[in-house]
C-alpha cells in the first residue's frame, strides 16, 4: 500500500494523513470531486471539495444555457475544423459531470439526435445542416449561442473551466496529501531552535 503514514506515533501537533491507495484515490477524485477524499476517510475535505468544485461547475452550466438554446451549452467537446474547444480540456478535469459532452459529440458524429434537449451538445458549424433535425429546428451555431446567451456564455465557460482546474488541485491532494505535509521519514534531525511562540521544537515551554 502506498500510503504516507509516519512510522512512529506523531506528536499532538502533527497531522497524520492516511492516503490508503493514492492512485485509486486520485482516480476517484477525478471521477467525482471529493470522492477520493471520502474513500480515504478525509470526510470534511471531501464535502468541501464536492460543494466548492461541483458548485462552481454547476453554476457555470446554469449560466451557460437557457430553455431556448438548451442547458450547459458552454460545456461541449468539439475537435472539428474551425471549432477546437480547448476549454473542454479544463472542463474535463471535473470528471463525470463533464462526460455528457463526450456522449453528445459521439451522437453528433453518428448523425443521431442529441439527448436531453441538447444538454452539453456541441454547436452546429456555420453553413451546415444536421440531417437528423428538421430545418426549422436546427441546433444553434456558436454565433447564435453567443448572441442569445450574451456575456453569460463567457461567464459559464469561465466557471466550468475553473471548476475543472480546481479539481486538479483536489486530485493532487488526494494523491499526495496536503502540500505542507512532511512525512516522518523525511524530517531532518531535531534542533533546539526557539520558535516564535516561545516553545522549542520539542514541544517544551520555554522557561
Amino acid at each position: 500500500m502506498g500510503s504516507i503514514v509516519p512510522e512512529s506515533q506523531p506528536a499532538a501537533s502533527e497531522e497524520v494523513v492516511v492516503l490508503k491507495d493514492p492512485a485509486l484515490a486520485a482516480f476517484l477524485a477525478w471521477l467525482i470531486p471529493g470522492l477520493g477524499h471520502w474513500y480515504q476517510g478525509r470526510r470534511p475535505k471531501a464535502v468541501l471539495y464536492f460543494l466548492c468544485i461541483l458548485g462552481t461547475f454547476l453554476l457555470g452550466v446554469y449560466l451557460g444555457g437557457d430553455r431556448q438554446v438548451g442547458w450547459g451549452r458552454t460545456v461541449y467537446f468539439s475537435w472539428r475544423d474551425n471549432d477546437d474547444r480547448l476549454a473542454y480540456l479544463c472542463q474535463i478535469g471535473v470528471g463525470v459531470p463533464a462526460w455528457p459532452a463526450l456522449l453528445q459529440a459521439n451522437r453528433m458524429a453518428n448523425h443521431e439526435k442529441f439527448f436531453a434537449h441538447g444538454f452539453m451538445a456541441p454547436p452546429r458549424l456555420p453553413n451546415t445542416v444536421l440531417p437528423e433535425y428538421p430545418n426549422a429546428d436546427q441546433p444553434p451555431t456558436l454565433s447564435e449561442l453567443h448572441l442569445k446567451l450574451n456575456r453569460f456564455f463567457e461567464l459559464g465557460t469561465a466557471f466550468t473551466m475553473i471548476g475543472g482546474l480546481l479539481n486538479i488541485l483536489a486530485i493532487y491532494d488526494a494523491w499526495g496529501g496536503p502540500v505542507t505535509y512532511r512525512p516522518k521519514k523525511e524530517e531532518k534531525p531535531e534542533k533546539d531552535e526557539e520558535t516564535p511562540s516561545g516553545t522549542t521544537d520539542k514541544g517544551r515551554t520555554k522557561s
Binding site: 478525509r42 468541501l48 471539495y49 458548485g55 453554476l59 466557471f159 475553473i162 488541485l169 483536489a170 502540500v179
Partner: protein, 73 residues
C-alpha cells in the same frame, strides 16, 4: 483620494454589476486552495479567509487604478 471617491460613486451601481459573479469564485478558489495546504478545517478556513482578502485587495487595487486611468483619459 479622488480614485477612492470615484470608486464609492461607482459603487452605487454595483447592484447591476457583473462583479458579483466574482464572489462565488473567490470563495470556492480560496477554500479549495487552502484545503490543498492544510488538513484541519480550522486551518483551512483561516487560510481561505486570508487568501480571499488578498484576492479582494488585489481586485480593489486594480479597480482604483482603472478608475484613475479613466479619470485622466
Amino acid at each position: 483620494m479622488i480614485g477612492l471617491l470615484l470608486a464609492i460613486q461607482a459603487g452605487i451601481r454595483w447592484q447591476d454589476s457583473d462583479l458579483w459573479y466574482a464572489l462565488p469564485l473567490i470563495v470556492a478558489i480560496s477554500l479549495v486552495y487552502a484545503a490543498t495546504r492544510h488538513e484541519r478545517m480550522r486551518a483551512i478556513l483561516l487560510h481561505a479567509g486570508h487568501t480571499a482578502l488578498w484576492i479582494l485587495g488585489f481586485m480593489a487595487a486594480i479597480f482604483v487604478l482603472l478608475i484613475l486611468v479613466s479619470w485622466f483619459q
